[in-house]
Amino acid sequence: MVPTIDIRSLHYQYFEGTPTVLTDINLHVLSGSCAALLGPAGAGKTTLLQVLSGVVGSQFTTGKADGRILIGDQEFLPIPSRVLFPEVGYLMQDVSVQLSGIKETVAEELAFSLDNLGITGDERSRRVSAALSEFDLAHLAHRAPSRLSGGELQRVALASLLVSNPSLLLLDEPISALDSMAQQRMVSFIRSAKRTATVLLSDSGIDFALAVADLFVVMDGGRILFTGNRNQFLNSLQSFSHLLPISLWDEVLSQSRRMTVDSRITRVFT
């Protein structure tokens, strides 16, 4: 089941007495949609994604949290205290730490999550083969993960997430290290992923979000400053000039009606 995500009045601090890293977060993400968390470094985007994945609740037992999180029909008061695997697939910002470091081949690396799930035999082979072909990795199946190029590493990291068929994808700055063509491939990937998963991603720019997101969430200092759809986001863009790289958009937006710009964006990306 592809989940909705509902976050109510979420507060989080890693240790009592330290600054709150997430303050009064309220967010609703529809099933099968893509929400983009936008904002500068330190805004709380990664923290929010990691809280949702359950890894923060699992690893940081001293953390203090308030609020409520609903993922599909699972309710957490206040936050998940265990990693929500395999429902959640999480892509780390630095993909080089994503891989286990203990597998000798790409095929074995892809199977790591399946091994942890106890999936063996034909089902294991089938899922690994499907992932290898979907991400154009078949020719690299026997390559050592330490000998992959940056682009190949990204594809292996993504493929290794998807073998476990997650219904919620959390992607932390998925395009930061990618060149233009690889970014286009990521756009295509997210558009097709939305058919079987809800997607939350973070980015420090806005181009990628404009191509794939249904919901735009601007964050700063651990708070959400704005949520809205693409039109609403473009209408409010100028108020985020100190947070987002939008310097050339002023002229574009003032020269066109909002709807015209929106349809141009769709044309430019398809």
Binding site: Q50, Q59, V88, Y90, M92, V97, S100, A107, F112
Partner: protein, 251 residues
């Protein structure tokens, strides 16, 4: 001649203990034997060109350390025959022998460890330890440490490159390299700690947690089973330990 992980590990343990027992000249001969074995025995040959180069570099560093250690002990310690050297210093026989004894031990231990880790991949070590009954969390901690050590030369190289580009002659000579290494120690350790935290998060996010057993393709039967060779080396190691204890009591 093929050795599995268990056999190599028990052989390494034996060599380390042997190094403590043998006099310096026999340790020197042992190092030569190990270097010959490295070129002739497939299972202890470094697994790749990169590892061969690293083996050569690290062997070189350790050799220099041994030479320096011998000379410094010769200069600082007194006793036995004294040889005058330019500069008004004298080198003592006792000091030289002490330096050689300690240095050769270090060289045997370093060479044995380099041969083991250079010819055994991290996944193979993981497979062996798990099938030998080690707790999985401990295996994983060891693996993360080994992974960091494996990537250490590349990290150091990147940092040295960045410093060289700022005019620091960190690769000019051995002294510059050593000085440079101390300068970068704190950023190196900090980045390692941060990466370890991220790596452990990533593992957990992919379903690895308490109680999960790691699985491996390929060989699963051989590692973990005690072979005759492993047993022989372990028995020899046991006798070495006995000998060391006896010698210690006799002093």
């Amino acid at each position: 001649m093929r050795f599995d992980v268990g056999e190599k590990l028990s052989a390494t343990l034996f060599l380390i203990l042997l190094a403590i027992i043998l006099p310096w000249y026999l340790n020197a001969a042992l190092v030569l034997c190990l270097l010959i074995a490295r070129s002739t025995v497939p299972s202890i040959r470094p697994a790749s060109q990169v590892l061969r180069r690293r083996f050569r570099q690290l062997s070189g560093y350790f050799t220099i350390v041994v030479v320096l250690m011998t000379l410094v002990n010769g200069l600082l310690m007194e006793g036995g025959t004294q040889w005058e050297v330019p500069g008004g210093f004298s080198i003592s026989r006792v000091g030289l022998e002490f330096g050689l004894r300690t240095g050769m031990r270090l060289l045997v231990i370093a060479t044995s460890l380099l041969l083991f880790f250079g010819s055994t991949t991290i996944p193979r070590i993981a497979q062996f330890l798990q099938s030998a009954g080690w707790p999985v969390q401990l295996v994983m901690t060891l693996l993360l440490t080994l992974h960091f050590v494996e990537t250490l030369p590349d990290r150091v190289s990147m940092i040295f490159t960045a410093q060289e580009a700022r005019g620091a002659p960190v690769r000019a000579n051995m002294f510059a390299r050593t000085k440079g290494f101390f300068l970068i120690l704190s950023p190196l350790v900090l980045s390692a700690i941060v990466e370890s935290i991220d790596r452990s998060m990533a593992l957990e996010l992919r379903g690895f947690h308490r109680g999960t057993k790691l699985t491996f393709d390929g060989e699963t039967a051989a590692p973990g089973r005690m072979t005759i060779v492993s047993l022989a080396f372990l028995v020899l190691s046991f006798f070495c330990i006995l000998w060391i204890i006896l010698q210690w009591f006799q002093q």
